[in-house]
Symmetry: C2
Subunit: 456 residues, 2 copies
C-alpha cells in the first residue's frame, strides 16, 4: 500500500529482550506522536499489556510460535480512540426522544425516563451495549459519568475496555440517590469501593453542572477528587440559558463562579464549554482545565459551536466526546471527528481550522491527557500500553488513499474498524467480539426497553 | 421486531394480477408517503421494474417458485436514497487536498489536478468507484455534473444505477472542452447522443455557476434544456465571495441576476444556495426553482449554512447532495442526512427544526422532485419503480429501536445497507455487489491515481 505522504523511516529498535505475544504487521502505522509521519509498512510488537517494539517492516522477523499475528495489510494501525465524554447507559434511550425543544427534551422525556427506568439491571445492560458499540467502532478508553455507576463498572470490567467511570452528583433527587444530601457520601463510597479494583478502571465523580449543583457540593466534590488524586468531571456552559441562570444566581459567569469556588485547576474536566467569553477561555487555559468538545450533541440540541480552535491556539489539550446516545445518537468517534472538523470550519469561516491531524489528536493523545493517562495511552510508542486499533481500508469510500489522516477523519466511520486491542488483550478480531456476546446484549436491551412506556 | 410508533395498517391490496419476481418481506416498511407511518412487518412485491403490491405481512402468501425472496427480518425496507448533487468522478481526488483555504484548494489543487488528470479513462473508473460507493451506502438515483460526462454515462449504465448526468458548462478552458466557445455545442451533442439511450439515464447540462458562465452561456444552456425538457443544474451562491463578485459584475445579487436572464423556473436545480437574502429565497420559491442542500461540503469548505428550514417552510422541496469527494469526502447520504439535521438545528438555534422525517424526505421523495422523476421514484408505492433498499438493524448502534426515522437519520450509516434494488434489478445482495466487481474497480483506481503527482 502506498501513501503520498513522506514516510518516516524509523530505525529498527534496539534488540528486543521480550518475546511478543501479539504482532500487528503490514499496515500503515499512525503513531500520533507529534511530528511523526506514517510508517508504511509497519510492525508493532506487544508483550503482555505493553508495546515493546515498533519497526519498519523491511526485513524478516522471527516470531515465537505462540505469538498471535495480526495481518494488517491494507489497513491503518493506530492508537485506540478515546471518548472523553459519555453517559454510556443512555444507549437505553437512543432515539426515544429527538427533534424536541431542549427543556421539553430534558424535563418531559429524559428526566422522567431516567427516573422511571434506571435501575442497576438496566444500567448494567445499557452499559454493556455502549461498550459493544465503542469496541465495534474503535474506542479503547472512555470517560463516563452517570447514575448507578457501580453497574457501569461491572459492565466495563466485563468488556475489557479502559475507562474513568464517575458517579453522578446533582442536588436534586437522582436515580439511585433519592436524597441529594447523600450525593457526596455515596460518591465517596463509590470511589472507595472501586479504587484499585482494576488497572483499567479508575472511579471518580461527575458534578452535573454549576447550575444543578450547589456551591457546597461543587467544593466538596473537588476536595474529594483531590484527596483521591482523581479528575472531576462537570458540564460547563452547554447552553446560553444555563449561563444566564448562573449569572442571575451568582452575579458571575460560570467560569468565574467556579474560579471563585477554587475548583478551576488541572483536575477539572469540563465538557461542552460552548458559551464562553474570551476571558473565560483564557482563564480555563491558564488553570490547565481540561475541555471536552462534544460537537454532535451541541448541534443536535442546537446548543451552539464551542470555540475549540481558540482553545487549542492557547495550548489547551482538548478531548473529544460523543455525549450520551439520547443526544447524538451513537458512540462512533470516527463520525464525531468528522463533525468536529466540519463544525470548527463552518463556525469560524476558516477552512484551515481544525485540520484532520488536530481532530485525530483530540480523539487520541489529547484524550489521554483529559483522562490523566497520557503517559500510558493515546499514542503508539514503545513502552506504552497496548491500546491499538486496526482500520480496514478496503471499502470503496476509502479509495484512493492520499493522506491517511484525511481518510480517517473525513471518509472512515466506526464500521471500518476491524481489530481492537486494549491493554494487550484482543477485544475485536476481524470484526468479531472476543469478550462480549453481542446477541445476548442486544436481545437483553431490546427486552428491557420494550417495557419503557414512551409517549413518543 | 417492534417499534413504539403507531403502525399504519394497510389493507391487503386488490388481487394481484401479476406474479412477483422479487418479494421483500419481514422488515419494517417506511414508505415515505406523506402521512403514512411504518408498516411492520411488511411485504413488498416487485414485478419486472415496478412495485406491484405492498402488504402487511399478516397472512400466508404463495410465491411463484421463480420469485427471489429477500428476508428483511430485523431490517428496514425503504425507498432508495437520492443524491441530488454530486460530481461522481471526483472520487479520484478524495482526500488529496483538505484543510486548505478555499481559493488555494480550488486554484492550486483541484483545478490543476482536474486539468492534468481528467481524461475519458480516469473519469470512467472514478465514476465506477463512485457508483460502487453509492450502491454500498443505499443510493439508488443521483444527479451528476462534471466533465467527460460521456464516460460517466458508460460507467453508470454498467452499474445499474438511475441518474441524471449532465455535461459541465463553463466559460473557461475545461477538461475535454479546451475552447469555451464550444461548450454549448458539446453540451447539445452530449444530450443528443444519450437521450433515449437508457430508461435509467437522462442527460443534461450543468452550468458551473453564475460567476464562471457568461450571461449568454447561461441563457443558451437554459434554452437547450427547455428544448429537451430537461433540468438545468447550477451552483448558486455557495460562497460570499462569489456573491460579491456577481454583485460587482452585474449590480445584482445572483438570484436577481438569474431572474433577469429569465432562467429562474421549475427546470432549474440550484445546488448550495448558502448566501441568499430572504427576498432571494422567496423569489426562488415563487418560481419553483429546485434547491439542493449540500451541508457537509458547505461545512468543510466553511461556506456557511444554507437556510433550508426557511425554504421548506415556503413549500420548497429541497433535495440533499453530497457534492464531490474532494469536498466531503464520501458519498454516504445517511451521514449527510445526519449532518443536514444537526447543521439545521445548530445554525438556527432551533432543535425542532429539520427533524428526522424531513431530512429523510430530502433524501427520498423530494430528491425525486429535484430530479424530475417524483412520479416514478422516492417513495414505496404500488405502481412506482422498484428502487428499494434494505437497512440492517442488527448493529449495536441501532439498538434499541424506538423510532425508525430517528434510527435511520441519527444512528445508521451507509455501512448498514444490506440490499439495494434499482428498477427491479438487485445491485447489492447481503452486501455483495451484483453488477460491479469492487476489487477490479478499486485496483484500477489505485493504479490510475498512483501517477497523480501531488504536491500535498
Amino acid at each position: 500500500m502506498m501513501t503520498h505522504l513522506d514516510i518516516t523511516t524509523k530505525p529498527l529498535s534496539d534488540s528486543v529482550h521480550e518475546e511478543p505475544d501479539i504482532v500487528i504487521e503490514g499496515g500503515i502505522l499512525i503513531t500520533m506522536v507529534d511530528g511523526e509521519g506514517p510508517i508504511d509498512p509497519a510492525r508493532v510488537c506487544v508483550n503482555k499489556n505493553r508495546i515493546i517494539d515498533i519497526q519498519v517492516m523491511d526485513e524478516a522477523f522471527s516470531f515465537p510460535a505462540s505469538a498471535e499475528i495480526i495481518d494488517a495489510s491494507g489497513c491503518i494501525i493506530m492508537p485506540g480512540l478515546i471518548n472523553s465524554h459519555c453517559h454510556t447507559p443512555m444507549t437505553l434511550f437512543r432515539g426515544a426522544a429527538d427533534d424536541l425543544p431542549l427543556r421539553e427534551w430534558l424535563d418531559d422525556k429524559i428526566f422522567p425516563m431516567e427516573s422511571e427506568h434506571l435501575r442497576p439491571e438496566t444500567v448494567y445492560w445499557g452499559s454493556l451495549l455502549g461498550c459493544l458499540e465503542m469496541i465495534a467502532s474503535g474506542t479503547t478508553s472512555f470517560m463516563d459519568g452517570y447514575f448507578f455507576e457501580d453497574d457501569t463498572v461491572q459492565a466495563v470490567h466485563r468488556s475489557g475496555l479502559r475507562a474513568h467511570l464517575a458517579q453522578g452528583v446533582i442536588d436534586f433527587p437522582a436515580p439511585g440517590i433519592p436524597d441529594p444530601a447523600e450525593n457526596l457520601i455515596k460518591g465517596t463510597e463509590f470511589i472507595e469501593k472501586w479504587a484499585g479494583f482494576s488497572d483499567l478502571i479508575s472511579p471518580g465523580l461527575f458534578c452535573h453542572s454549576p447550575s444543578t449543583c450547589s456551591a457546597k457540593t461543587l467544593r466538596g466534590a473537588a476536595e474529594i477528587s483531590k484527596d483521591f488524586s482523581l479528575p472531576l468531571q462537570i458540564h460547563l456552559s452547554e447552553t446560553s440559558d444555563e449561563v444566564d441562570e448562573i449569572i442571575k444566581k451568582t452575579g458571575q459567569r460560570p467560569v468565574h463562579f467556579l474560579n471563585k469556588l477554587g475548583i478551576l485547576d488541572e483536575g477539572l474536566v469540563a465538557a461542552h464549554a460552548v458559551h464562553l467569553t474570551r476571558d473565560e477561555i483564557e482563564l480555563l487555559a491558564e488553570r490547565g482545565v481540561k475541555i471536552v468538545h462534544v460537537p454532535e450533541s451541541n448541534m443536535k440540541l442546537s446548543s451552539g459551536a464551542a470555540r475549540i480552535a481558540e482553545m487549542i491556539s492557547l495550548g489547551m489539550k482538548v478531548g473529544l466526546g460523543t455525549d450520551g446516545c439520547a443526544s447524538n445518537n451513537d458512540l462512533d468517534l470516527f463520525q464525531e471527528m468528522d463533525t468536529a472538523a466540519k463544525l470548527g470550519k463552518v463556525s469560524t469561516g476558516n477552512p484551515v481550522s481544525m485540520e484532520a491531524r488536530t481532530v485525530l489528536k483530540m480523539a487520541t493523545s489529547w484524550g489521554g491527557a483529559v483522562l490523566g493517562i497520557e503517559q500510558e495511552v493515546g499514542t503508539i510508542e514503545k513502552g506504552k500500553k497496548a491500546d491499538i486499533i486496526v482500520v480496514d481500508l478496503q471499502g470503496p469510500h476509502l479509495v484512493p488513499l492520499y493522506n491517511p489522516f484525511s481518510s480517517l477523519v473525513y471518509s472512515a466511520t466506526g464500521a471500518d474498524v476491524r481489530d481492537v486491542i486494549v491493554d494487550g488483550r484482543i477485544l475485536l478480531r476481524n470484526r468479531g467480539f472476543q469478550t462480549l456476546d453481542p446477541d445476548e446484549i442486544m436481545k437483553k436491551v431490546r427486552a428491557l426497553t420494550s417495557t419503557f412506556a414512551l409517549k413518543a
